[in-house]
């Protein structure tokens, strides 16, 4: 029993002796030499980028700092709304590929005319490219256009600029300037002759 106690005491003193065993202080130059070496080393750019992307970030701001950002947001929203509304009202020239839309043939029986063109809401009231043709042996001017389904207003421009509505139209619409435009409804019929 006494032997066991003595052995325990020896063991405890050995452990204590290890803990308290003298150790050397490192030279002061160790820190400076290590830091001198590591200062010149840069980690690869991809590692820094990856670490930056993975690091969560928090942004702090005061309510006053938020005002300019909120104002900008409101202005941007209003501008978007106005732009969308404006683009809805803007005149649109209907441009369709050859196979798009419904073919509509406009015709005008005016044998004395030299030139006849068509203007309407489908071409933004610009006649260029909408010249009518007279078939040989007939007195009618005709032009076939392809239009999407919808309601259109149009008129003929004869020779020196005289504008006349289509006399064969089923409906007319006052243009607000003392004249009338013909109304064209493009429906589901493939060939509509007005």
């Amino acid at each position: 029993m006494n032997n066991e106690l003595q052995q325990d005491e020896v063991l405890a003193r050995i452990e204590r002796g290890i803990r308290e065993a003298p150790s050397l202080d490192p030279p002061d130059s160790l820190l400076s030499s290590v830091m001198g070496a590591v200062r010149t080393q840069k980690r690869p750019w991809w590692f820094r980028a990856l670490r930056w992307a993975r690091s969560p970030r928090s942004i702090t701001f005061t309510p006053l700092q938020l005002v300019p950002a909120a104002s900008m947001l409101v202005v941007a929203c209003l501008a978007s709304v106005l732009y969308l509304r404006g683009s809805g009202d803007a005149p649109q020239v209907v441009t369709l590929s050859q196979n798009e839309g419904i073919a509509v043939t406009l015709s005008l029986n005016l044998p004395d005319a030299q030139h006849v063109r068509v203007v309407g809401s489908f071409n933004d009231w610009h006649a260029r490219g909408y010249e009518m043709h007279r078939e040989e042996g007939t007195e009618s001017w005709t032009l076939t256009v392809r239009l999407p389904k919808g309601r259109y207003e149009y008129a003929f421009v004869v020779d020196d600029g005289k504008i006349i509505p289509d006399p064969s139209a089923g409906f007319y619409q006052d243009d607000g300037f003392g004249h009338r435009n013909a109304v064209l409804i493009v429906g589901n019929h493939d060939e509509t002759n007005i």
Binding site: Q6, Q7, V10, L30, R51
Partner: protein, 186 residues
Amino acid sequence: MDQSDDQQVIAAVLDGNAEAYAVLVERYQKPIFNLMYRMTQSRADALDLAQDTFIKAYEQLHRFKEGKKFFPWIYTIGVNRSKNFLREKKLKQTCSMEDFEPGSGLDYPAQHEEVLCQRLDSQRVGRALHQLPMDYREALILRYQEDFSMEEIASTLGLSVSGAKMRVHRGLARLREVLRGIGHEQ
């Protein structure tokens, strides 16, 4: 040592703040330098090896696993670096493990205990430690000076946990043998 503080310093270093590394160097330079001194018995070599260890740890810091303790990690680097150094220099350790007879060291006659107790001052234990084979010596240093757990000792010295326990147990026994031997020489 505050492990979470080490983690913060490591994060700062990895974020590009190289100066923060000085905190880790200051904190662990003494045990690393002493490890190198025990291995080489030369202050100049110990300084070079400690410097190499810290620089290599800096270069490899992106491989350090978050949540682990930094000190066992850099200590492992230091042990490997010093072993490579000794291999390169073909230096022999103070003595080999085979120089010691196997045994628990806890079963020697009672009449020696009183004498042994009188010799157990820290200076003598320190000298006796230097006579132990490196594997036993470092296991005892890690356990009793650095307060490593058995898991950390196992990881640092490349052992299983049971192997680490055996290394510490036998290291104590070897130390007793050495201390007894010192007594006979005096």
